[in-house]
């Protein structure tokens, strides 16, 4: 089985017996069907990405990898006595498979430590020389306890079960899962660290078998009267596990302010999650010990570790507060508000309103889990974190949480994260936070999509102005000339400039760098519903493909497959997709590019296809997806905006040309402004509706 086929499975935690099948034989069978190769996991992308990760994320991953590596090295070394003295032959056979799993895990995390964390060239060092993971809290605070219990495994059946409980239920069932979840969370963006994501997913699946075995063995032991032994092992073990989660022997990187708060918040949540898992597991097995006893043991060990940390290092652990109170979810109001740099205006009300009512961190993290980030090869990390916070209207702690969670960024020269503006825009839309600037802008710019069709097809006049940046980057610009005549409109250049075909075949107007192209356009929309079933099917298939509109760089828009893998689409990629399909089916199809006019103008692409009635129809499905976005946002913000017309958004793709589209002779993926060499150039386009009739 190719390792790339492995999916992140957390199955196998079921303890439901199957009649007539030994659960241990069943586990053996699962092992036979779930192989993977630690040496074949491709770490090239991880290697390239690692140095671009925020330092905080690297530090967190470093700790997680060390703990996982140390744990797997330790359990590999300590499993043999459990195999040798297993009370049942089927258990022994199954445990032999587990030994190979643990070796595979140790090798994988050893490779990761060597090749990614330490930056060494790929080699067989991880195979021949186990990484010692000296930074590990597990190594100092848990491994000795496990080693002692396993060393005594051969003394009696009770001793074996004591060791197995410590090994399978605590090391793997509580600690291992907790740290794997950290690794999975931090490395879950498969485009950033695909090697880590694959490896952790495979390890997770293996561990699910091991834990299932441990639970089965514990339940068998309970039935044989070893309840007290197992309970004692479990209580002792989870106390050591809580200590490892705190990590008193490892100095924390000093942080102050919001980053310190955010780290404490994360650690508190992880600790609480691990503790809760320990309680639930005990309950599932039927361990003869109350939840209260377990909770008290866990909390006491946690508190002791926090005190030991302070005594050892001379300052408080980030979990010190957790030791003083019941682990509760922090409330946002306790987060210090972010002060905008340079906010010299009397804007106290503004700063306060940027926080009041803001979705909490958990909401943003849940949203981010559904947001696809722009792939590295297309991303441009140049948006400072301060600006990203201002656009998202969130405190810096929230952005830091997103970054730690895997939102891509690069480090700026000042050591601060830089983000891709598209990512910030898209996560804002996904979150639907009404004060986020992209949400405000989108709702404002796309409000017209709620209008009735008759308002979208009437004749409309617009003042047009298009200009390059100042200071100029090139001496002249060639602008695709508006061409609304095809649809019954007209365009009049204010200076009677004459357009001509440029090298790419597009009719363009040449303007000096400091000039502004000015003109007036009259456009007419029209609505001529599509007839051919093939065209309808092409549109329906696209609209049913669970894609959503997102802001995406033009380079990526030109790769339909790549953008759709992200769950996104744009006017360019939908045009390409449908044009390709309909052309293959024998339709006469042309693609077009122009502007979608309004207060916040956008370049826009669509297709036109000759229908079975001989008429050329506009097919512009992205309007449907924009409308879906608008509707979702309006619902989220509780807006009273009424969708006055077009009860079914799909009608927007049914042969509708809206009176905001200003066409040109450019095809769907052309640049609307180029320089003399044909390179695409930034221009500022403005369109204002006017009632002055110029016809």
């Amino acid at each position: 089985m190719n390792v790339h086929e492995i999916r992140d499975l957390e199955d196998g935690f079921d303890d439901v017996p199957e009649a007539g099948v030994s659960p241990f034989v069943k586990l053996f069978s699962r092992w036979e069907h779930q192989p993977w190769r630690a040496l074949d996991v491709n770490l090239e992308t991880d290697r390239a990405t690692w140095q671009r990760l925020p330092s905080g994320l690297r530090a967190e991953l470093h700790v997680a990898i060390c703990e996982l590596g140390a744990g797997d090295v330790s359990v590999t070394r300590l499993l043999l006595p459990l195999i040798e003295h297993a009370p049942d032959e089927s258990w022994r056979l199954y445990l032999a498979t587990q030994l190979s799993d643990e070796a595979r895990h140790a090798i994988f995390f050893g490779r990761y430590y060597d090749e990614i964390l330490s930056g060494q060239a790929p080699s067989n060092v991880a195979v021949t020389n186990h990484q010692e993971f000296d930074d590990s809290a597990y190594k100092t605070d848990f491994a000795p306890l496990l080693a002692r219990s396993v060393a005594a495994a051969g003394e009696s059946a009770a001793s074996w079960h004591y060791a197995s409980t410590m090994y399978h239920l605590v090391t793997e069932g509580v600690l291992g899962v907790a740290i794997l979840k950290i690794g999975r969370s931090l490395g879950r963006n498969p485009r950033l660290l695909p090697g880590l994501a694959e490896g952790v997913a495979a390890v997770f699946r293996d561990e699910s078998r091991h834990i299932t075995f441990g639970r089965r063995a514990a339940m068998a032991a309970l039935a044989q009267g070893h309840g007290d032994t197992i309970a004692e092992a479990y209580v002792t073990g989870i106390q050591a596990a809580a200590r490892v989660m705190v990590g008193p022997s490892r100095a924390e990187v000093p942080l102050v302010g919001l980053p310190a708060y955010q780290r404490a918040q994360q650690r508190r949540a992880r600790l609480a999650d691990a503790g809760e898992r320990a309680m639930r597991q005990a309950q599932a097995i039927g361990l003869p010990v109350t939840r209260r006893v377990l909770q008290d043991a866990w909390n006491a060990a946690r508190d002791k570790a926090v005190v030991d940390y302070a005594e050892h290092w001379g300052h408080e652990h980030s979990l010190a507060d957790a030791a003083q109170e019941t682990a509760t979810r922090p409330v946002l109001s306790s987060i210090p508000t972010i002060r905008r740099a340079g906010a010299t205006m009397s804007s106290a009300g503004f700063r306060r309103s940027a926080v009041d009512g803001t979705p909490d961190v958990e909401h943003w993290l849940a949203v981010a889990a559904r947001t696809s980030w722009i792939p590295l090869e297309h991303a441009r990390y140049d948006l400072p974190a301060t600006q990203a916070c201002a656009q998202l209207m969130v405190p810096r702690a929230t952005l830091d949480a997103l970054l730690v969670d895997g939102m891509p960024s690069a480090l700026g020269s000042d050591g601060q994260p830089l983000l891709d503006a598209h990512d910030v825009f898209n996560v804002a839309l996904d979150a639907g936070w009404r004060r986020a600037v992209p949400v405000v802008g989108f709702r404002s710019a796309m409000r017209w999509l709620a209008a009735p069709i008759d308002e979208l097809v009437t004749r409309r006049q617009w003042q047009v102005s298009i200009a390059g940046p100042q200071p100029a980057e090139v001496s002249e610009l060639l602008i695709a000339v508006p061409d609304p005549e095809r649809h019954g409109g007209c365009y009049v250049d204010a200076h009677a400039r004459r357009a001509g075909p440029s090298a790419d075949g597009v009719e363009r107007v040449r303007i000096a760098a400091d000039e502004t192209l000015r003109g007036r356009a009259t456009v007419r929309g029209n609505h001529t519903p599509i007839r051919a079933p093939e065209i309808r099917r092409a549109v329906d298939d696209l609209l049913g493909a669970d894609l959503r509109w997102a802001k995406v760089p033009l380079t990526l828009q030109r790769c339909s497959d790549a953008i759709e893998r992200l769950g996104y689409t744009t006017c360019v990629s939908t045009s390409a997709r449908i044009a390709t399909r309909l052309s293959a089916e024998g339709f006469e199809v042309t693609t077009h590019r122009g502007w979608l006019m309004g207060a916040l103008a956008n370049a826009h692409s669509w297709i036109e296809v000759r229908d079975e009635d001989g008429c050329v129809k506009v097919v512009d499905p992205i309007l449907v997806l924009l409308r879906r976005r608008l509707e979702a946002l309006e619902r989220t913000v509780g807006s009273t905006l009424s969708i006055r017309g077009i009860p079914a958004p799909e009608l927007l793709a049914d042969g509708l040309l809206v009176n905001r589209v200003l066409s040109t002779t450019a095809s769907y993926d052309s640049d609307l402004a180029v320089d003399a060499s044909g390179t695409g150039r930034f221009v500022v386009s403005n369109f204002r509706p006017t009632t002055e009739d110029h016809r």
Binding site: V437, A467, A599
Partner: protein, 98 residues
Amino acid sequence: MTPYESQLQGRLAPASEEAVEAVLACIAAIRPDSTPPAITEDLIRARTIDSIGFVELLFVLEERSGRAVDLEATGAERLHTVSGLAEQFFGTRGGDDA
């Protein structure tokens, strides 16, 4: 003398100067590292702000002035300059009434 005094001197009534200062302060707040713009400079063409920054600026100005602007009816281009923003949000046109 403020950084903008040479631009403002002799061109604006006192009330307009306040309006322009308020707009400039808002720009400085959202783009603290940007070079202070000339009052008639197109903020987007000059890349002082991008389209999202423009929305952000309008957002801040709305909160600051308590006045909302119909972007489409006004025409975004009119709002691309400090003077245009001062006029729309604070009721005076920089330079016109000096």
